[in-house]
Symmetry: C2
Subunit: 333 residues, 2 copies
Amino acid sequence: MINKKFTLAGRPIGRPISDDDFEYKEEELREINDNEVLLENLVIEFQPAQKGWMEQISNYVAPLEIGDVMRCSGIARVLETKSEKFKKGDIVIGETCWQTHPILSQDKVEKVKDESMATKYLGALGGTGLTAYFGVTKISKPNPGDTVLITGAAGGVGSIAGQIFKIAGCKVIGIAGGKEKCDILIDEFGFDGAIDYRSDDLNNSIKELCPEGVNVLYDNVGGRILNDCLNHLAMNARVAICGIISRHKTDNSNFGPENYSNLIFKRATMQGFIMFDYMSEADAARNQIKKWILEEKINCKEDIQEGFENAPNTLRRLFESKNKGKQLLKIAD
Amino acid sequence: MINKKFTLAGRPIGRPISDDDFEYKEEELREINDNEVLLENLVIEFQPAQKGWMEQISNYVAPLEIGDVMRCSGIARVLETKSEKFKKGDIVIGETCWQTHPILSQDKVEKVKDESMATKYLGALGGTGLTAYFGVTKISKPNPGDTVLITGAAGGVGSIAGQIFKIAGCKVIGIAGGKEKCDILIDEFGFDGAIDYRSDDLNNSIKELCPEGVNVLYDNVGGRILNDCLNHLAMNARVAICGIISRHKTDNSNFGPENYSNLIFKRATMQGFIMFDYMSEADAARNQIKKWILEEKINCKEDIQEGFENAPNTLRRLFESKNKGKQLLKIAD
């Protein structure tokens, strides 16, 4: 049987991802060993951090070397098993990477108990949801009535974070690119307001929608958008630095927010975080998010592309501000 | 009797302070009213915030209007009194401003009990020392053994902050301009290391002197120096944003620190503060600093210029990186 895969071929540092950053390969699958399973990859997930892994400029996860299969999580079906833990046909989650037929050790995959929620474990119940949850609860410390401003609000993390802030009793304003996404923020995610950074005057719009200032700024974007947002901090504001997707655009990479000076005038705190630091609380967080999903308090919108060959294009959607909700790619049914 | 004074005549926004930003005036003194005192201004103090008051771009203190006498604190002698609280010859502290003979309400001045320490109340026991003290204790949260990096380390706040970090058991490295100041950091303030930003390669020097990274960055400077410092944060670092004196230089005003991205990778916190927020604890802080001064654990170095007419030049020394320790101006004996 043939395994198709994409390996890392280039490091897109200071430039967008190109097709040449990946090498497409087909290989004959080896026999599986004891305690291994052969999987059929069904759905894989995409997140901005993956470009960081390709660049390897800051080693906050195990490095991705040239020639390694591109790393990601996925939902897969067990095709063959030499593990007592799994039987053929089981639906599992694991680091399946950009390949059609991963062979993984039984320790590296987990059975998905509730198959109807399988893809949620790649998004709202996976790293995306945990990042949003810990970013809100550990870093942003929202109070009911706070005004929260979220950048990259229509993305996987931003959309979940916004809904958790709503549950916490906050007024939530989102910034996203384009009218369609702004409508989604209000109609599907229940935000109180939306700003289109492509067509609106950011400073005026923030001032209008956040007249008493921003108590919590949840930033996924950085760059000039962050800088404009910093203009509008309320006293004792918290700024959660969750990501800097703008640094991947060549037009404003390496843009420092000069308005960090407002941290002084507003006695504000800007804090970076990575969800890995809170993994001891991940199960409790996942249970809470699952409860909210079942109560329909959180809408886990998924943006599902199709076809294994589209993996590179699907990753690029994140940096072209195209995805609406969590970016996924369906590889097989 | 004649009062000489400098009033605000221009707002030096985005440019250095010029002589034309002040108007020199002489006026015949009026009679003092009940509950007022006529003072002879002896020593006045200078701090970077004073340029901020002139600019009035962020109203974190009562605004300074064009035509107002330049505001500052000073030590003065009572020449005439219609107050029961003060007698002729008393040494007092208050907002004496840039003038030779202030008339102030009795509520606006306080008697200096320990005249030998009078000028300390303009520095280490005044706003300068309190800023350092609260910046260390409330924002930086040092642990014994932490590596602390201080920018603007030879200035009033930086030199006191560094010595408080030493008392807290930290390794303290200071950044200052010029060899003379760097020698002072080590010889007079007891720092563990000094970096001359004018002649040293900042990145290499920080790496060499802080091989395990910077646990606390106490920043008075901003700009490219802050940006280089952010390169070297240790995990869970705290960055205290105390001031941004570099913004007053035209060559790198409005420079945002692109390396704020390291806040994510190092799970670090950057926090701005103003000492006014902690005034309920000011007496306790002052007592503690006074104790340290008497124990000779804190050296309150003063940079004393002379002559009332030199007030504008003396203020400029702060922005030309000339002062060594707290900047004062002696007006009369």
